[in-house]
Symmetry: C2
DNA sequence: CTGAAAGCGCTTACAG
DNA sequence: CTGAAAGCGCTTACAG
């Protein structure tokens, strides 16, 4: 049997006062004498009072729940995003309802409607490529690239790429291959653009593998590029970096002795492989906090704005270089190289 | 400006009938003449009527939202679980609120309370090791190992391990190293137990890396075991398999020519590495569907039961062997070996 | 088959 | 500083 939780009126009865006063006291709007308010809170605690969110929602029109819409839950970055958003939302007293766009734009639209039907006060959207989410009748915070119009908050992908590029240049790399998998992705273009800018004194070439499977004999073959003198492989994602790394290793090209490999996002396996992947990570908690903050403000002011703007909309990225041997995994966000990382000085 | 959605009474006015009748018609309880019901639905559609879940929740005591509690969103299996649960829940007309236990049991308890405060009708819990979630006042479906008391549904981890063990035996492996990372995990023990049973004619040895980092020179070193004649490495998770794979490759031990490596869970990178990882996967959608189904039934019947039991509580696992070359990734759940997978015949 | 009425548990003007 | 009253939008016995 589920015991019915105590309600507002029970606290009121107990103290022989009105429910209105209890409500006012508990919401801390300050129209109640400090002393009475204290007694009310006391009784509420004793009874284990939990307000009925349903009733409050019906009355105020606000549910205290936001939606999280992702292009694809299968996205390797999803756990990081979800965790950061969930934490930030919980801290802000908000619940998070998830929705999966399952890949298609149609599904994204459905997912958004589904969330709206469930009465979310606002939503965080990591949009599918090129999607503009417009006029859905509640505030929306978009997490995308700074170069994307209508963006609310994002990491400085270009800056992150630049950091990595500088690092490789300092290690002496002069022929660097850049690898992306979607020519239309603004995030990927930003990242590689930053790398390129930092390597302007050397040679870079860019390969887009939009429809070719990496490590696929018929398509991209890292060893061929290695044979042509490329000493560093920069990919837009750790998942691709992993493909290149294992492909090279399998072919007998030792990393980082013979070639360097690096990625982005610091996915959960980046520190697990040998050698550990050098990667560029965004400060997801910061991104999430900004998105949630902007959203919450829009909700509270019941702003008309559809896509919410954040004052600080660009979060720095950090370069992560790991040593892959030793008793404990060590991380550095400085540009310090250890032996046995996935990139290294040229012919050390 | 957020336009106010139409409400029940507006449909009623439009047809000059009572709200009660509209409600009855829309909920399909059949107390309304077929003809009128049709007209009501028609008008509801025209107006784009969406029922207020808050009002319904207040009245019925049911929110139509369930909670998903995970030991750690950072868990590599999380995306698969979340996606499967979200899909199954959406199909069942339920919303999914996520909660992160952030690692500690205390946080798990808090997460559960947080969800309850938000009024979920029930929850799906993937419990932290050894945790029993008791008496929280709403139905709970637990996803764990079949060996766990109070389990609602799970995959047949032992059976999955057995499949893998048979496969390795058929390939001629006689000395197999089993690698786990938590001696207390029932799931891990089940998996390795299955492998062991299938390899009873050979030699197996088990290493628990509870507090040792794999690929850590001071701790586990796969190459040493290889030198001692072990030809196959079975890990309880693809993440560990990846560690072993890259460690061996980095040390010049070719996989699968010289040693086999396999894992569990078919994590997103399993098909990306070279050679592709052989792994054992659970049918997450099936697990999710069973969990959601049992939960939904408990909610609808307002069962007193706390932990829900499912009629069919064990889902089969499938062995996934991939060829890692060729134009498209091919998958087989039969025990067919291709060249260039992460395990192979002994000295082929 | 249809409707009038009550009520789910809050909050918010408004009055005192 | 405190309270009486109305109402958020539904659903559900109950009566006709």
């Amino acid at each position: 049997m589920q015991q019915r939780p105590p309600k507002l009126s029970e606290i009121a009865e107990r103290l022989d006062i009105s429910a209105a006063t209890v409500s006012n006291a508990l919401s801390g709007k300050g129209r109640v004498s400090a002393d009475l308010a204290r007694r009310i809170r006391q009784v509420a605690d004793d009874l284990g009072y939990v307000p009925s969110l349903s009733a409050r929602a019906l009355r105020t029109g606000l549910t205290g729940v936001i939606g999280l819409v992702l292009p694809d839950i299968g996205n390797p970055l999803f756990p990081q995003i979800a965790q950061a958003i969930e934490n930030a939302a919980t801290d802000a007293g908000l619940g998070v309802l998830i929705a999966d766009s399952r890949g298609s734009i149609k599904a994204q639209t459905e997912a958004i409607r589904h969330l709206k039907d469930h009465g979310v006060d606002g939503m965080i959207v990591v949009p599918r490529r090129g999607t503009r989410v417009a006029n859905i009748g509640c505030p929306v915070a978009m997490i995308d690239s700074p170069s994307t119009p209508g963006n609310t908050v994002s990491a400085d992908h270009w800056g992150g790429g630049f950091l990595l590029g500088e690092h490789l240049a300092a290690l002496g790399h002069r022929k660097v291959l850049l690898i992306g998998n979607n020519h239309d992705s603004i995030v990927q273009n930003d990242r590689l653009g930053g790398v390129r800018a930092a390597l302007s004194s050397g040679t870079t070439e860019t390969v887009w593998l939009d429809s070719v499977s990496l490590a696929d004999g018929a398509g991209f073959d890292a060893t061929r590029w290695y044979a042509r003198g490329f000493t560093a492989f920069v990919t837009v994602s750790d998942l691709q970096a992993l493909k290149v790394l294992t492909h090279l290793q399998d072919a007998g090209v030792s990393v980082p002795a013979m070639a360097s490999v690096s990625g982005f996002d610091d996915l959960m396996f980046a520190s697990a492989v040998t050698p550990a992947l050098t990667t560029v990570r965004m400060d997801m908690p910061a991104v999430a906090a900004i998105a949630i903050g902007a959203l919450k403000q829009a909700i509270e002011t019941r702003a008309d704005a559809d896509t919410v703007q954040a004052a600080q909309d660009r979060v720095a990225m950090t370069l992560v270089i790991r040593r892959s041997t030793g008793p404990a995994q060590q991380e550095e966000s400085e540009k310090i190289t250890f032996t046995r990382t996935s990139e290294g000085e040229l012919n050390p």
